[in-house]
Amino acid sequence: MTCDGRRRHGLPGFTNRAVHGNAAALAGCSPMRRVHSIRFMLFAKRTQRERFEREAERVFPSIFGAALRLTRSREEAEDLSQEAIVRAYEAFDRFDGTNFKAWMLRIITNLYINRYRQRQRGPQLGSLDDENAYEPVSDEGEAPDRLLFDGLVGAEIEEALAKVPDDFRLAVILSDIEGLSYQEIADATEVPIGTVRSRLARGRAILRRELGGFAKREGYIGKESEE
């Protein structure tokens, strides 16, 4: 079939490539068939848009939250998340259909790395990506984390998270808040899995220290824990 896109490509799940391929196949068709095919292409395009919008709307809070936690500026987060949506829509035909959220987070991470981190000056964190650059998360002598974290509220956690250096914060956000696997984080940040593991360990250690310090300053740790 050259003119009947429905039979050629099937419904649903057609892609932009299918639509463009169909356009090329229109040459040589009768006018009536061309009209039908153009109508079909418009329908396919509209359906694809609806499908993208449905998926994107579902994961947008995560995308926006990640952008906000990465940039630490609402204005920049809005700009970044809008750009990510536009990029994703343009590349939607290349989405493999497995994990839309991970794919979107990968796009926004790449955008963030390209757009914002290039502005940064001074020494990079590469030296800390060493597999051995690990700090213990908890110490036997310290109060249990359950006690440390019990009194904390969302804003305090976000504040502590914002103090974690960029590379580590990115790994912690993608893993602990967005629930990506090591492999998905490695793909998104374009670093080896070993680096992801060490960044996560380091980021969590720093975050825990910040949270602990915050809990102590605010008096969230009870007397029994100090004893």
Partner: protein, 244 residues
């Protein structure tokens, strides 16, 4: 001491069930590793359940707006790309039809601003020194009857021949006591553009190359009299030529 990164992998669910089971057994025997695992789990729980949720409806609306813009421009680009040849053809057709219409609508109308340029490209005709020579020459060479120009007061200094807008034309360099004047006769021209009619309705006047111009039509020809003299003098001269 168990590798803390292994404990972290266990907390993150990155191990196979066999690896996880084995590691759990080892961790159970080590209080420090157990504390590390609990600490990691607490932190993960904290981040998954207690982080803030951000209001983003407005941002999403803006995203939808940008997607609409993208679709709109994509539709336009697609249309232009698909029908580029058709659009070019239609545009060329409009130009051709417009040109043809313009030509047909202005048949027999000459533009006064074209006269100096066209007159300059005319070539001189030797041996024509008087009005009677001129009348004879026009009849013989150009195949139409000369307009009635019988002024013996005017000397014909030179005669030039050529075309104006595809119509046969002659130019007479005239001299009288007030100076020089150029009379261009365009055979077949019905009207002259770029001039305004005088109240008497016989003549139209205008300016060409900084000189005054008087035009009129007679015997199927348009006459254009150009001279640096004043408009009144030029109209008088035109009246003399026309009447006589």
């Amino acid at each position: 001491m168990i590798d803390p990164l292994e404990i972290q992998a266990l907390a993150d669910g990155e191990l196979t069930s066999e690896q996880a089971e084995l590691l759990r057994a080892q961790i159970a025997e080590c209080p420090r590793s157990t504390a590390t695992l609990h600490s990691l789990q607490s932190l993960r729980d904290l981040l998954q359940t207690r982080t803030e949720t951000f209001e983003c409806d407005e941002t999403w609306s803006r995203c939808v707006g940008r997607l609409n813009e993208l679709d709109r421009s994509s539709r336009i680009e697609g249309f232009v790309g698909r029908y580029a040849w058709g659009l070019c053809g239609a545009f060329a057709l409009v130009i051709a039809v417009g040109g043809y219409w313009s030509r047909m609508a202005h048949t027999g109308v000459i533009s006064s601003s074209d006269v100096p340029r066209e007159a300059a490209s005319m070539f001189p005709v030797p041996g024509v020194r008087s009005m009677s020579d001129f009348k004879q020459w026009v009849g013989q060479k150009l195949g139409f009857e000369s307009p009635q120009i019988q002024d013996t007061r005017l000397n014909v200094a030179c005669v030039y021949q050529g075309t104006l807008d595809g119509m046969p034309a002659v130019r007479l360099a005239l001299q009288d006591s007030d100076g020089n004047a150029d009379l261009t006769i365009v055979h077949g021209a019905q009207a002259v553009d770029g001039v305004r009619p005088l109240q008497d309705g016989q003549f139209s006047v205008g300016r060409v190359n900084g000189e005054n111009l008087v035009t009129w039509t007679r015997d199927g020809s348009a006459m254009l009299l150009v001279s640096p003299r004043s408009m009144d003098q030029l109209v008088d001269l035109a009246s003399e030529i026309r009447v006589r």
